[in-house]
């Protein structure tokens, strides 16, 4: 097979890496990305008062959110460029989480067993959005082992949602999570179109 010299011919796809503070989102993106994850900022303007917004800027609050961007691309067997977007720690600004998820094929919800609950909002968000996602438990050393069953119960998500353990620092491990996600997206799509055909 010939090598495509121009990344220009690559099809692009977007995945989101979400989860609470310090669960390893940036580390996971860096493990598989061709570039060092870029910390990218956005300025959000929110209406701080519901009344009289005619005076303009004084009634608005401006805040900055930061997210991660990484990418991994290849030309064989088929040219693809995969964009990885890492969310800010908490979905404080729902509108921004929508922007991050716009056009995404699916999401990884990363979690840390010491603070599972910090990743619950992320799982809830994708569930409500109807975006396929997997839960990946980033195993930090010295943490009390918890079974997949316990964790699944805590998350209280659909049984179809794949749940797995990973090491965010390890490229193969993160790639395994992404492959699981992409297969889950494909299964979800096939199931949906089978329903439509029936």
């Amino acid at each position: 097979m010939t090598q495509f010299p121009q990344p220009a011919t690559r099809a692009t796809a977007k995945l989101v890496i979400a989860g609470g503070f310090g669960v390893g989102k940036t580390t996971a993106i860096g493990a598989v990305s061709d570039i060092t994850p870029l910390r990218t900022e956005e300025v959000l303007t929110t209406q701080s008062t519901a009344t009289d917004s005619l005076r303009g800027i004084e009634d608005k609050t401006t805040t900055t959110v930061a997210f991660d961007f990484g990418r991994v691309g290849w030309d064989v067997p088929d040219p693809v460029e995969l964009y990885l977007f890492g969310t800010p720690g908490q979905p404080r600004f729902w509108s921004f989480w929508h922007d991050l998820s716009e056009g995404a094929l699916g999401a990884v919800v990363l979690a840390d067993t010491r603070r599972l609950e910090s990743s619950f909002p992320a799982a809830d968000f994708f569930e409500q959005l109807g975006l396929p996602f997997v839960i990946a438990i980033n195993r930090f050393p010295g943490t009390t082992p918890r079974t997949a069953v316990e964790i699944r119960e805590a998350f209280d998500v659909d049984e179809q949602v794949p749940l797995m353990f990973c090491d965010a620092r390890n490229a193969d491990s993160v790639a395994g999570v992404l492959i699981t996600l992409v297969q889950h997206i494909a299964n979800t799509k096939s199931a949906n179109s089978a329903l439509l055909d029936a």
């Binding site: 796809a13 310090g22 940036t26 900022e41 900055t64 067997p77 693809v80 716009e102 056009g103 889950h184």
Partner: protein, 136 residues
Amino acid sequence: MNSPTGQDSLEAEALDDTATIVRLYAVTDGRTRARHHLALHTVLGPGRRSPRPGLAEESVRIVELCGQRHRPLAELAGTLALPVTAVSVLVSDLIDAGALAFPIPDRRSEDSDLQLLHAITAGLKRRHPNATAKAG
């Protein structure tokens, strides 16, 4: 850049705000709305026309970066360390001036979506032969 605890991240975020907002207004002459709808993943490439002389340094950099390879808006913003909104405004100007263009039509059918998913799986497996996916 990375902080081990959430509290630190929150504080760093708060401290950064003012400087970031100042940079935003400085490069866009106070404009905060782009004329084109650009998503974070919108891919940009070189346009047909060379950029006019006298462009702002940031705009020149954007044209250079997209000339090297196609890049999404988020990558441009991260590379330039500018807020996404600021880069959206500059990119919109450059599109209108013909110095940047959208290289890939953002249209996909269900069918090609499945093809794309298979292409991603195949590519990831090829790069990471030792990766193990959870079956199911």
